[in-house]
Symmetry: C2
Subunit: 627 residues, 2 copies
């Protein structure tokens, strides 16, 4: 077994392609400083990790590691939550060592390692007396999916620490997968993709091409109907058509984004331009036709799936938290491959409006789905209860299917890895947050930056050069698509990228102002469900109206927004001119067309969508009918 010594310039990157337009920076190179994201990262470390561990014990999913087969608890994929917790811990330990956290991590790793079979098999739900045989239910069994998360945890550990017992367990599991599902093995795939990006990442860590070849095989087999048809159709697990033949993401949104991320990884490492182009096309069509204003993906509750083009109802939005994470994983890989700032635009939108929305301020309650329209007051789940359904109406401490909390934990822990990249000629800033960056270019030139900003409250971003070679290099700054009035050191810059190539001086400061102010946004008229409506955005943040901010007995659904009056900062949020209508109850709600009963004008305060439901049950709208 060989663990490549990660070169210092890339230590701790959450995905690490061997080549591409841009190179990721790792957690040892980028450190968040106090601000919007650092606050969330600290809550994740100090509260969410322990919260998850508590619930994994309480729900018995950690206990499954020692339980008799007949006493196993939880869904078939519950092992994966343990691995996602380990991944989050590994990133956190890499970011900042802590003996107590290190011991908790090692204790869980010992329990996991004890369950692994001599041939590398590892799953608490299959193969033991009284259980279904191994790999007897590829459609729903999630065995390869669980390996995927095991391997991702090991990759995080290898990139931040080096080899350890978890890495060895993961390598044994990966070898077992290659033995069983290799070219002469079971010629099928897992109902839930995840093993694909994991195996490529393990190849990147170990250099063992067998893992890459196995990932390639899995990507190629997908879409060949090797899985059984199911009630939702084979598109649910993307087994309806080959990856390289599809033009848009479809089916279960988490499965779709994970698979696409893995396909990019395979394409990059095997030099498969056709495959990369296919996924790039799928991303483009998905963003243009199947994505919510928040960046959320998946509009169907029935199968947690993408709807048809332009079917994006706010009130039955699914927009699963994990699909937002899958979308970030995919966009990040395409950004590294192509360098196009569009990918970073979508990442920003998804981070601020899906990832930041899901957890409560204290990091112990979570949205599984992220609706854009709450019509009735949600009910607060009793403290300490496990919510049986995915569709929570308020953030809940834990779910029967609890993929989202652990997915958030590993994402917050590795968040600094998504801020910046480098290439041969310099540094690119993609996401704006208070942070320090220190890295070396491939030719050894060292660069240091300090980014000072209260973004997204304001759009002012100061980049101080703390270390620079005395040769010219290029600092590239993303100008978001929404930032039509941005300036860089006082000069107008257009959406896309602003590049400063020069000889920098240590101590000098570059100031980007993205001119954050409230704006109105309309939707493509083919999105029927928001016809005649506008949304309020401010910088990268989507705003919403909540009933707690309205006069008593004014339902959010009675508001009409005056689209001729620009919304303005104020009232602790954004103020918009509205009318409050008074809908008349009819025995039959379909009548001859006529004007709406209008009652009175009101200045209404909207607040960031990611904060919604933070002040107790509330009704809420993102899209408001306009007049």
């Amino acid at each position: 077994m060989t663990i490549n010594e990660a070169p210092p310039t890339v230590s701790g990157a959450p995905a690490l392609p061997s080549h591409g337009r841009l190179r990721p920076l790792g957690l040892s190179e980028v450190t968040l400083r106090p601000g919007f994201w650092q606050r969330r990262q600290e809550v994740n470390r100090s509260a969410t990790l322990a919260h998850i561990e508590h619930w994994l014990e309480r729900a018995g999913w950690l206990g499954n590691l020692e339980a008799a087969p007949q006493d196993r608890r939880g869904r078939e994929f519950s092992d994966s939550e343990i691995y996602k917790l380990l991944e989050a811990m590994a990133w956190e330990l890499g970011r900042s060592p802590d003996p107590e956290l290190e011991e908790r991590y090692r204790a869980i790793v010992r329990r996991v390692a004890a369950v692994q079979q001599p041939d590398g098999y590892l799953n608490t739900n299959f193969g033991r007396p009284g259980q279904q045989p191994r790999y007897s239910d590829l459609e729903w069994g999630h065995e390869l999916y669980c390996y995927g998360h095991l391997i991702q945890a090991a990759v995080a550990r290898a990139r931040t620490f080096g080899t350890d017992d978890l890495v060895e367990v993961a390598i044994r599991a990966a070898d077992h997968v290659c033995d069983v599902f290799g070219p002469d093995g079971i010629a099928s795939v897992c109902g839930h993709p995840e093993i694909e990006p994991a195996l490529v990442e393990l190849y990147r860590v170990t250099g063992d091409r067998r893992y890459l070849e196995q990932a390639r095989l899995f990507v190629e087999r997908r879409g060949r109907q090797t899985l059984a048809d199911i009630e939702f159709g084979r598109a649910y697990f993307q087994d309806d058509m080959p990856v390289r033949a599809a033009s848009v993401l479809r089916g279960h949104a988490v499965r779709a984004t994970y698979l696409a991320a893995g396909a990019v990884d395979v394409a990059i490492e095997t030099g498969d331009g056709e495959l990369l182009n296919a996924v790039t096309r799928q991303w483009r069509n998905t963003v243009a036709r199947r994505t919510y204003l928040t960046g959320g993906m998946g509009s169907r509750h029935q199968d947690e799936a993408f709807g048809e083009d332009f079917v994006l109802p706010p009130d039955r939005a699914y927009s699963e938290t994990c699909a937002g994470i899958g979308s970030v994983m995919l966009s990040w890989r395409l950004l590294l491959a192509h360098g196009d700032p569009r990918y970073a635009d979508l990442i920003e939108r998804t981070l601020f409006n899906v990832i930041a929305t899901a957890p409560s301020d204290d990091g112990t309650r979570f949205f599984y789905t992220n609706t854009l329209h709450q019509r009735v007051l949600g009910t607060e789940p009793p403290a300490g209860t496990l919510v049986p359904r995915a569709a929570s109406t308020l953030r809940a401490p834990w779910f029967g299917v609890s993929c989202c909390p652990t997915n958030l934990a590993r994402t917050f822990a590795s968040l600094a890895g998504y801020l910046a990249t480098s290439d041969d000629d310099g540094l690119q800033l993609h996401q704006y947050a208070a942070a320090e960056i220190r890295t070396s270019l491939p030719d050894g030139r060292e660069i240091g930056l300090e980014i000072d900003t209260d973004y997204p409250v304001s759009g002012r971003i100061s980049v101080r050069i703390t270390e620079t070679p005395d040769t010219p290099w290029t600092l590239t700054l993303r100008i978001p698509q929404w930032a039509g009035n941005a300036t860089l050191d006082g000069m107008a810059v257009s959406p896309g990228q602003a590049r400063l190539r020069r000889r920098f001086t240590a101590g000098e400061t570059v100031v980007l102002d993205l001119a954050v102010r409230p704006r109105l946004t309309a939707a493509d008229p083919r999105i029927d469900s928001v016809r005649g409506c506008v949304a309020v955005e401010r910088g990268p943040v989507v705003y919403c109206v909540e009933s707690v901010d309205l006069p008593p007995h004014v339902p959010v659904d009675t508001l009409r927004l005056d689209a001729s009056v620009p919304p303005a900062d104020g009232g602790g949020g954004v103020v918009a001119s509205c009318r409050i209508t008074s809908p008349v109850d009819q025995e039959w709600p379909y009548l001859a067309p006529g004007p709406e009963a209008s009652v009175k004008s009101a200045e209404v305060v909207l607040r960031p969508y990611h904060d919604w439901a933070g002040r107790g049950p509330s009704t809420m709208r993102v899209w408001l009918p306009a007049y």
Copy 2:
């Protein structure tokens, strides 16, 4: 065992309350003549019954009656499809005897009777070696639901023929249910209501109050959380709150309407005004807030359930065919109880736009769901295949869950029973169709009518008095809510009811003209999904645009309707003035508000929604954006 001899005035009524504001007429009193509904009834008799029998054999659901337990096929409720076929056959045989059909009916009854256990238990899915024990899965087992349909078939037979083997089997089953679920028995209910109305109807046939008491018990137990919680929540099977406490229908739409129908039956026979008021209130709120323009009920695919108030998306409408039938069952019972024409208005709407929409012209393919917006071309199910999913995009010959075809068959067979009622003073016409009616009032006065009409093509309905006493009586005609310009014998009449009380003369004709012409309809602004849209209706019929009626390459979603121009008859349908827009693909579909790109004007033909998809795959819209 006693079967009441049905008095001739009520022979063959599909529901027969012992009292109420109105009395139903039976199939021996009302006969359809050639026209819109008679054509469908004949197709049902000549084609659909044999089609169903063929599929019940082919899918093995009839074969389950003889199969070994381990060879049983189909879902847990497949026995019920056999009973619904028997019910349809019984109504048809009552309407018009036929030796060949009679023999087919009897052959199936013999097979059913052979499966009944000595204690009355009858279900092919439970209780035999290798199967789950009886009543071990009340949430999903459907055992009482299957009895319900068995009993309904027997009631149809008893009302049209008298007692026979099926009636005796049903009575033994009902006695068994009372033994096992009585006051001292299993204190729970079935996950799918249906036994409730069935037991009351059997009480009405036999006079045995034990069945009524058992139905009352089931209605009272519902909502007391005697069923386990499930992923969809207990509202799915209406076990979230007592029937008399609820204000609106909720949960699974078929379950909700069947239960409400049974609750009305119990309320009527036990004199429970509070219970009747509760269901009446639920109907009112459901119609005002949770019903599609078509009369369709249920907007959620996930759980085939009602959505929240005003959540009625056209493109993910579920509007299950069976929920339409359940709605007619419920409205009919409330009409009999209260006499209010609103109930008949909803029945008319549901008959013309849900019940008439579901089957193909030849009666051998069916919609399970009835969407109001088809965005992509549906795929024709290969001839002779069983469609695994409820959500068909085109009418399909059979489904894995195939409740709708058999439910349609029993409804078409008994359709004449929903046209007219009587009270002590005369006759009420609720639905307009070419028909003959002959009945006697309770005091023995005989009345005969011939109704001549091509409704709904025109709104002209001629009622010829063929038999009349020489004393005054009242002829009551429903004036639909949409008929604002109706005349009766040339005199204006208002929506609601027109009453003619006089001494009629045999041979005289009363002419009602409902002034059917195309009109535009808008929706309550709280129905967000159709904001800014209008629909075209004509009389009781909802119209739609289909892509097969548009120029090539003009998607239905690009049309905008000019709401200032009244639609007019023409082009084989209704012609509306439209613009065809040319939507521009954007990388990101959310932009600053702006005008829509408009291209050219066009006169567009709309056709009845119930005929849609009859000319092959097509995209379709009921609601069109207006300008």
